[in-house]
Amino acid sequence: MHETDMTKALMMTVRDWWESQEETPKIEAVHLIVGAFTCVEPVSLEFAFTAQTQNTFLEGVKLNIKETPLIAFCHSCQQEYKPEYGLQYSCPTCRSPMEDIRSGRELKIDRIEYSLS
């Protein structure tokens, strides 16, 4: 299960932010945006996050995951379309291959909620 490593990577990135702050903030929630065209399974990520943050600076912190769909843009047809994951990625109208991905590759920390004591 690679969400374990994904969580490790997430914790490292959040830690970098946390340590760069002047006052040590208490992190309340981490908000993620995870696209459908990534290797991340949100449910597994939540599970891994809860388990791996125990006894760390992120223990008890809420993980919020917002999913974004896979949306591609066809240059020939000048329109967006939704590829069928696992079946068909080319444009349903003209069969051009999936050139531009407009949404679905996101794998980012949108924001962090924190309080100061």
Partner: protein, 233 residues
């Protein structure tokens, strides 16, 4: 009063890994080394591909291997027979290499050898068609392997790997006649997802396609260091 604040980060979840990958790439660039990240599911033929590649290029190029696929210790030993440095990385139970692990390998290359002498580093990733695609290690190009026995539908099922790949090797083509499979269909499926990918059907057993692959590898070299090769290309 309990007051909460919001910090808009809008940074990649893998930011820390990405920063490490950029540092690794900067090292390679400073030394004039091209780094190729070789990825596939277990058993698609990464190690045999590297064996054939070493046998062909070993004389003209200085090559090192960073070996992450430690499912068997045998992989590293097989490659050491070609007289090249094989830096084995202990990945633990990790299902992919990350930039920190590869950074450890780069440090060893720097301290045990003269990195300026090297032209090419192959990173043999852990056998896995999912995770390695998301974790950059500092490579210049990503090479994915898919063997014909894995099935035509794999690019559709594991699209991220095939979207990220710069070069796709369809391996074990010598077995294709014995299977209900069309190499053209594998290619078409991969191109749906990644129209730019360079596709090379190859058989390590018969040698078919090997020269095309070697030429692609040569074309990736950092030019400044190989003026002679540059002229003969």
């Amino acid at each position: 009063m309990h007051q909460t604040f919001d910090a808009a980060l809008e940074i990649n979840l893998l930011h820390a890994n990405q920063a490490g990958a950029d540092r690794n790439r900067a090292h390679f660039d400073r030394w004039g080394i091209t780094c190729l990240n070789v990825m596939s599911s277990p058993g698609a033929g990464k190690t045999v591909l590297l064996e054939k590649t070493l046998a062909a290029l070993n004389k003209t190029l200085k090559i090192a291997i960073i070996e992450g696929d430690m499912t068997t210790e045998l992989d590293a030993d097989r490659l050491r027979k070609y007289g090249v440095p094989v830096i084995a990385i202990n990945t633990g139970r990790s299902c992919h290499l990350d930039s920190k692990m590869v950074s450890g390998g780069i440090h060893r290359l720097e301290h045990e050898y003269d990195p300026n002498e090297f032209d090419l580093v192959f990173v043999e990733n852990v056998g896995n068609l999912v995770c390695p695609a998301e974790f950059e290690v500092g490579e210049h190009q990503k090479v994915a392997l898919l063997s014909v026995t894995e099935g035509e539908d794999k690019p559709l099922k594991y699209p991220v790997m095939f979207r990220e790949a710069d070069c796709l090797l369809i391996t074990k083509t010598d077995l294709a006649p014995y299977l209900d499979i069309e190499i053209e269909r594998i290619e078409a499926n991969a191109r749906q997802i990644n129209p730019q990918v360079k596709i090379i059907p190859i058989s390590a057993k018969t040698g078919a396609g090997l020269e095309t692959w070697l030429n692609w590898v040569r074309s990736q070299l950092q030019n400044s260091k190989n003026p002679v090769l540059e002229l003969t290309r």
